[in-house]
């Protein structure tokens, strides 16, 4: 539910002026970023797919866990969608930095807790840049100094800073989305407890590394 709520709110914006909802579907690049992040989850030990889905479990349990992994992917894509600028040069700059960071992280040693801290910082930075810094530079929202800075930046960037204006509620929604996403990641167990029909000692023997290791325990 938490992950799906992130998937719902990640693309939600509120238009400035008439305060209409705008549902922005995730751009293709966010799916690529989410794919890289899923790979990072596996490499960092946040998710151990072999322990989530395996043949010894009942079919319904496997389907349920597969759906949770799909929800994790969808919420990751939407979390990126929430903190990426919608268009222009800045959109591609943010994408580039996300790609660079995620690609580098693929080759870094990570434990789940460290990975989570790193992701919280990554999403937090992108949130601050988009919803505080860039939104503050929008001429409709800014004071006279902001307008001067926006005009100068527009001149320097040849209009690349053009971005649609959103109501302040968009920032609050994005903050809630990112917080919920990071909170949701904390709740994801690396290896959920095995669900076996008539499980007993056999089930315990399947848990090779002891009890499930959620990030909260890490």
């Amino acid at each position: 539910m938490v992950l799906l709520t992130v998937a719902l709110l990640g693309g939600l914006r509120v238009a400035a002026g008439h305060r209409a909802f705008l549902f922005v579907p995730p751009p293709l690049i966010t799916l690529v970023l989410a794919g890289l992040l899923m790979s990072l989850f596996v490499r960092g030990g946040l998710v151990r797919p072999a322990r989530w889905v395996h043949g010894d479990q009942p079919l319904l349990v496997n389907v349920s866990r597969l759906l949770t992994l799909v929800a994790l992917f969808a919420s990751s894509a939407q979390a990126f969608n929430s903190v990426l600028p919608e268009q222009g040069l800045l959109h591609w700059l943010f994408c580039f930095f996300f790609l660079w960071t995620l690609w580098n992280n693929q080759f870094s040693p990570f434990d789940p807790a460290r990975l989570l801290r790193s992701l919280a910082v990554l999403f937090g930075t992108a949130f601050v840049l988009k919803h505080l810094l860039l939104a503050g530079l929008h001429p409709a929202e800014a004071g006279w100094m902001g307008r001067v800075a926006a005009a100068l930046l527009q001149g320097v960037s040849l209009g690349a800073l053009d971005a649609p204006a959103f109501a302040p509620a968009t920032g609050y929604i994005s903050f809630f989305t990112v917080a919920l996403y990071v909170g949701g990641l904390m709740l994801v167990p690396a290896a959920p407890p095995p669900a076996l029909a008539g499980a007993g000692d056999d089930a315990a023997s399947l848990v090779e590394g002891g009890p499930p290791q959620g990030l909260l325990r890490g």
């Binding site: 799906l4 719902l8 909802f21 549902f23 009942p58 319904l60 349990v61 349920s64």
Partner: protein
Amino acid sequence: MRETVFPGLGILTTLLYGAVIAWLYATAPRSLEEVATGVRVAAGSYQIDQARFDAALRLFRAEQFRAARDEWGRADPAQRDARTQFYVAYAFYREGWGRVYKDDALYRQGLDAVNRAIAASPSAPLTVADPLLQMHTAAELKAELEKGGERQWGDLNPLKMLEPRK
């Protein structure tokens, strides 16, 4: 029993929630009111506001085409009623019609509306039995709107100025 019920409920809830999210992104409602309208459409209980429709018809007959379209927009917010969309298209046609030239932008919007009207009545050809209209079917109206948007040598014929508005 527990091993079946809990994952089953989880799967059902997840699929339902996922479907709601997909529906929201596919239909992109702009307000909670539009969400409610969309739900009524999906549930099959959607109906137009008849009082607003009648008010719009009175405006249409008084040649207040923009006001009429505005009122029809409120009467049929989901743009799902074939008859209302037919009248909206007719209002675009009449406003865009000129003795010397036709307004392309209005004709294009009229064409969109008549296409919506046709799509909203897939089972039978749409016919509106209004004696004050010269065109009674969506097909006629669509042909007229398409013809207005075309450029031909015949447009230079001065006798075309005598053609009446339908």
